[in-house]
Structure formats: C-alpha cells, structure tokens
Symmetry: C2
Subunit: 478 residues, 2 copies
C-alpha cells in the first residue's frame, strides 16, 4: 500500500487571516506563484472553478443579447491617451511593449489595462446607423496592471476577467444597461457564489477613471473586511466624443452613442475563499465546484465495496452532478482531509455495513451534517444536500454581513466601531471629498458605496455636521 | 419600409483568390483590422465560430483527461533563453515589455510566443513523484509573434489558440500522447470542419524549434495551396533537462519526464473559408456555424406568415439547432444574399402558399439544392439536410485534394506539375536538407510532411538520385 501523501496543515484563520488565505490558495492547489514577480499561475483546480464561473456568467450575458469578441491586447499610446481621465487613472500601472523582434517600435504599445479605448476605436470604424445599435459586446481575456504589492486572486499584475462594453442610441438605454449588468453581477454573487452583496453607487473619488457613474456590488469577508465584487460603469457620451464614434440617427443627423462597461475578475475566487472557507480549507458553493460530490469507499478492499461505490458515482453523474470516486490507496482519514481542503461540497461514504443495510452516508462540507440515505433515494438526496449546502453558505455569509454592519453618527464613533468589530460602518454624508478623506485619515476607511437602498440615519454628515446628501457604507477593503 | 442595406459584392475567387479571401473576411464580418499594424479584431460573428470550435475541441481534450490552466503571459528573457533552439526559433518574433508603469524593468519580459518555458518552470516547482504523472495541461489564450507580413486568420501578430503541454513518466507514453493529439486534430478537421487532411511528420527543417519530432495535419485549399492545420510535438526530455524538471521515479531515483506540446489556432477559420467558400461568400460546416438555419418568411406581411415562420424557428430550436428568424423589412433577395455571404448552411422559406400546402422549402447553402418538406417532418428533414451539407462539403474538399495530388520523379517534373496545377506533389526523398532546399529553390515548394501512410513511388530521391528514405508531400503553403 502506498504511503499517504502528507495532508498539510493550514494556519487557523483566527491566528493569522492573511496567512490562512494564502495557505488555502496554495494547499488547495488553486494558484501558484510564477517566476515573474507579481504574476500567478491558475492551476487546474483553480482554473476549473474559473471555468464554471465563466460558463454560468457567459450564459447570463448571452440571455440578455450580449456577444463575445476579441480585441487586440496591445494599445498604441496615442490611442490610449485620447481620453484624459482614463489614461491618468491607468498610466502608472501600464506595462509597455517597446520592441517587436529586434526593432525598436516607433510608438510604444500598452498591454491593455482595460479596453474602452480599443472598443471605441473599433466602433468609430464600423458603426454607421442607429439600426446597428445597441452593440452589446463582451470579451474574456487577461489584463495587466503593474501593482506594487500583490496577493493571489485579489491583486496581481496579470488577472483574468470579462469586460463588457456596450453602446446605445440613448442615455436612458445605456443607464438601463449599466443597471441590468449590476443586477446580473448581484444575482451571480448571491445565487451562484452564495455571497450576499450590497448594491450601490461609488463616490466620485472611488469611481472608474473616466466614468460618469460607477455601480458596485460590495461583499463582506469572514474577517469583516470589505471586498469589491464587480463593477458596472456608465460613461455618457464622453468616450464617444473623444474617439469620434458616431452614427446617423433617426433624424438623419450624426450623433454620439452612449456607453457602458462592466467587469468581473478572478478575484471572485478570492471572495469565495474568504466568504466561505474555514480552518479545514476551502468551502465551495456547489454551482462552481469542479467536484460536487466525492465518493469514498469505506474498507474498500472488502468484496463488492468498490463496485458499489462506483455504481453510486455513475448514478449521480447520470443525474447531472460532477462526481469523483477516490479509489486510491490513501487512508480514509487522508482522503477526508484532502477533499475538505479542496472544498468539495458533499462527501458520500459507503462501506460493507452500508451495503448490507441498503444505505450510504452523506456528509456536508460546510457544517459537517451527516445524513443516512437509502440507496434508491441517492440522486434526490444528494441534490437536496447540495441545495442545503448552498443555502447554508448564503445564510451564514448573510448573518456575518448583517451582524457586522453598524451605524455611526460621527467619525470618532465610526473609528471605534471599525476598530472593535470591523465590518461596514454606515453613516450619513454631505457629499464632500474632504469628509471622505477625513474618514480615511481618522478612521482608516474608504467609502464602499452609496447603497441603492438608502436609509435616513439622520439629517447631517457624520464627518462635518453639514446637511447630509446620502447614506454611505464605509469599510476597510481588500 | 427601410431601404435595403447594400449587399456588397466580393471579388470572384477565379479572378483574385487573395482578394476573394480578404473580401469574405470583411464582408461576412468575421474580422476587422485594428489600429495597431498587423493586429486584428475578431468580430462577434467570427468569434462565435471560434467559440464553437473551442467548445467542441475542449470537450475532446477533456474526454482524454486534459485539464485547463492559465500561465502568465510574460516570460522573463533569462527563462526563455534556457533552451537554446526554442529561443533561436522565436527570438526574431518576440514582442518585449521593457517598462512597468514608469519604471524601466531590470530584465525585459517576452510576450509569450508559445509557453513551453512557463510550463517547464512551473513543473520544476510542483512535480515531485511519478504518482503525479502524467500532467495533461492545456490553455486557451493569445500569443504574439512579430510577423513582417500579415493576413487575417492566417498570419497575424496576435492570434488566439490553444496550446497543450504534457509531461509523462516514459518516452513511450509521451510519444503516444503526441500521436493521440494529432489524431484528435485530424478528427476535428475531418468530422467537424469537413476538411480532409494528410497526417504526417515534418522534416527536420520544418519541425518546431526545439522539438525532437513534429507531426502535422496538412490540408488543401480551393486554390490548391497547402495549409498547415495543426501540429503536435514530441520533445523527449530535452526541455525537462534544460529547466530542471524532475520527479522521484518508481526506482526512488530522480528522473526527467518526457514532454509533448500541441497547438491549433484561429487560422482554422481561414482554412474553413478557403476550403469551402464560394463566390457568394462563406460556407460554414454546420457544427461550427453560429446560425445553422435561417428562417425567411416569404410575403411576410400576409396574415399568418410571420407566426408560421416563428413556429418553425421555435420547433427547430427545441430540436437543438441554432436557428434565426429574419423578420426585418429587408427584401427577400437581400436576405438570401446576406445569409449566403455569412455561410449559413441551411435556409428555410415559408410563404402563404406553403402554409396552405402544409409545407416549407429547405435550401442548402453549399450546393443550392432545394427540398420541399411537409411541415410535420421539419425537424428531421432539417437535420438530414444539415448532415447532407456536412457530407457534401467533405466530399467536395476530398475530391479537390485527391484530384490535385500528383507524383513526380524529378525536381523538374515537380516544378512543372506545381506550376500547371498547384496541389500536393509527392516524391521520394533521401532525407538530405540539400535536396529539400533544392526543391524550394527550383520548384518553389516546401516539404509539407512525410505522410504516416507511406507509399513507395520509386527507389531513389527525386532531387539527387540517391537511395530514398521516405515519401514526402511538397506544396506551396500559406
């Protein structure tokens, strides 16, 4: 019999949350560092999670009429510079290609940090009439932003994402698109990733470079820090004008279309780790789990056990589940620890006594709940247990967010609440940048968003006492 | 009623094949030039074809145990240089990143031209034991090769592809993988793209930089030129040694794994255009067609016509086909021309008289064959017609290839045959580079491959008269 591979321990999250996070990234074999500083490799198990996310999300985009395209990865500097705010926002983080083969390029080329400029340049050449609008485009690719400090999934110099870019005949249509895509993201987080979100609008300070308005879904991790989940931007016709994108309108006159963009990235894998993981490792929501059910034969060398276990695997696969049978020579203890580390939502155990009794045992990853199930009811029971995992994850994450959302009436109170509990601190705000900066300096928090569901917590700004314009969620963010 | 958009004419292929090709690329809205020289944009219709190719191929890869990963796009120069032949082969075509943000990088970074080096570097850090072998990896991404002259799909500075990379315990296993993947490509070309191929081995001159052996599927276009479809490489343990990839073997000693890589690219779209297209535009094989069936209502403003047409669309969609109903105000003539240009394999027409007679008309794109079908038999008939399109395309392409494959016994004869007919010229060959160069100089042809199915055309090399070692296919290639 082969010796067990070592099941490596991970740091407890209560001891060192950052180390716990990195340990899961490595020990669950999601990601590995590359030999280029700040770059990472998505390993097969991490990439399989990303593929599941992509497939589900891409399906949603297509349902609402979006189509995929591929734009060049390199953007001429002059093209990138046409819209001043965008380039100012991204210039410090751009990687530049300056040589092609042995020849020095006449103009340096930016590795795309985001592709608004390329889409606009393309549209300026292919758009003619209002009949061709809207154009609802998306692309799946990687981008580079030359960050100083990096962490797997959360901040790396190259990351994988989708970037949606659309143009519309009217401002109203573009605004509706921005909102629709925000809701698509919110639904994806809540229904697929089992992570509750706050939908809101970013302050001017926090919005996307060049956008007229940025909307966001914000979530809370297990350490009560905030994480920006995905964003949706409305640009008005600012880029259209800068890039000379025009069309002949219904009135037969040249017009500028109105534009949106929206993006979500592999950082969602980081969100899943920190929203659901525990001290035994990753905990995956079933819709994105590469393996939804692991079948473990107990005393598998006894006659009939392996066959029985394999029959269960086959039945569940036929029922549409992603199932794996581990018939390796590793011990039962090692296998349990291994698939817990990998976050497999459901474990099915079957041994000689179970076979005799016509049953098997289902164990949920998220709460360890065991259920004994009659063999003939397996498919239904497995699906019900996976549903229970999904529900359990969402409810626990929701309780975490609700329990760690606080009201403050002053910067000092906000600071104390954040120091004591972390979480979201909500206050009223006058709308001034100065107050936002004050909250950052004195309470260490950035504005996360102005929730779409506003509440009236009082009449005045918590920072300056002037009349309040909006309620803001503040937090310490990843 | 809106005025018809103009249906633009394309150049006849008999007049100017190259212009005909470019016309289809543009007029079928597959691809557009970008503002960066040598770079292209995959437009929605072109990308949808690529998505279908990806889905089918990715499914095949997974059936044989391959998993997807994502490697960094930038490779440090020192890493790229560890294997001399590879870097010598690709160095003249590499795009270099030399700046990150405002800082000059200490070491310049190559935009990946291919990723053998990154996979080896990763494996050198994660591989430990023979138990972890084989590692069967693949990635979908884009690469850059700084080509001097470019053509849409066939040769562009950035192109989209999959690159498979695997390591194995033994040379035999790696060789079997190389062969298996070649056959996967061959099946994909023949069964999915309806393009017959010659499977063969490249000569040393034509093989991949650093490979021990390169296998290829070669196809013939309608102008009788050759196109390399996809390639599969066996590396032995050369890269493992250069990058220090080792594992503990069954004998408890450190060993080097044996390696393969294999790739296919968006140039397959170019192959489809030139293998099946005609003077009315693109002709798509049904498995990769974004729209498999276009439903056109005749006299659609007559009562009941649009409803009847939409019912057909719905029924065929339910039967699993990709269907579109065009109920726009454009004329029937415009619509027919438009969907012919786009290569939609099957057209379904229904008008008032058809409704009365309980029938509709099916028209095949590839040969214009019309079939009148009883409404209740539509689904079955549509599937049969799509099957007939696929079969018809393959047979026509096969006849083209067979009719333009010739035997020559001398360089002079080879030159004459090529000049008169184009196509594949097969000769015996002694294996010497000098003779290969002579064929290039005097007959303008490169060796396409040494087919796996060898024939004995004679005893001696057609170039030098020395004893022959193999039969070679020669051609003028894209």
């Amino acid at each position: 019999m082969a010796k067990d591979k070592k099941v490596e321990q991970i740091t407890d999250m209560e001891v060192d949350f950052a180390q716990w996070y990195t340990d899961i990234c490595r020990k669950a074999e999601l990601v590995e560092y590359a030999s280029v500083k700040g770059f990472t490799i998505l390993r097969p198990y991490g990439y399989a999670i990303w593929e599941n996310m992509q497939r589900i999300m891409d399906g949603e985009f297509k349902k609402t009429g979006h189509v995929n395209v591929a734009m060049p990865v390199l953007i001429p500097e002059s093209l990138l510079k046409k819209e001043g705010e965008l380039v100012n926002g991204f210039a410090p983080e751009v990687a530049w290609v300056t040589m092609g083969g042995s020849e020095q390029l006449e103009e340096r080329l930016a590795f795309r940090p985001t592709s608004e400029t390329m889409f606009c340049d393309h549209w300026s050449r292919v758009l003619h009439s209002y009949r061709e609008l809207p154009m609802l485009y998306n692309q799946w690719c990687s981008v580079i932003r030359w960050e100083k400090t990096t962490r797997p999934f959360l901040r790396s110099r190259e990351f994988w994402w989708q970037e949606g870019h659309t143009i519309h005949e009217t401002a109203e249509e573009a605004k509706a698109e921005t909102e629709q895509q925000l809701n698509t993201y919110a639904d994806f987080f809540e229904k697929v990733l089992a992570i509750p979100v706050v939908r809101g609008r970013k302050t001017d300070k926090e919005k996307f470079a060049g956008a007229e308005a940025t909307y966001t879904v914000e979530c809370m991790m297990k350490d009560h820090k905030a994480l920006q989940g995905a964003t949706s931007h409305y640009f008005g016709d600012k880029f259209s004008r800068a890039y000379d994108v025009t069309f002949t309108g219904r009135d037969n006159k040249l017009q500028y279309p109105f534009q949106t963009s929206w993006g979500s990235t592999t950082r969602m894998i980081g969100a899943v780790i920190m929203a659901h993981g525990d001290n035994n490792g990753l905990v995956l929501p079933p819709p994105i789990a590469p393996i939804q059910v692991i079948v473990l034969p107990v005393a598998m060398h006894k006659p009939g056990v392996l066959e029985a276990a394999d029959a269960l695997r086959e039945r569940m696969e036929k029922a549409g589940l992603r199932v794996k049978l581990d018939d390796s020579d590793n011990s039962m203890g090692w296998k349990c620890a291994q698939y817990e580390m990998k976050g497999v939502p459901l474990r099915v155990e079957i041994g000689p006594r179970d076979i005799e009794a016509g049953q098997c045992v289902l164990v949920r990853r998220n709460d360890g709940e065991k259920t004994v199930v009659k063999l003939e009811e397996l498919e239904e029971a497995a699906k019900a247990q996976l549903e229970a995992v999904q529900q359990g994850l969402f409810e626990k994450a929701k309780a975490n967010m609700e329990e760690h959302t606080y009201v403050a009436q002053s910067v000092e109170e906000a600071r104390e609440l954040q120091e004591r509990n972390g979480g979201f601190i909500k206050t009223m705000w006058c709308g001034d940048l100065a107050c936002e900066l004050k909250m950052k300096e004195q309470a260490g928090m950035s504005s996360r968003c102005m929730p779409l569901k506003q509440e009236k917590l009082g009449e005045v700004c918590a920072c300056c006492g002037k009349p309040a314009k909006a309620m803001v969620y503040w937090g310490v963010a990843y």
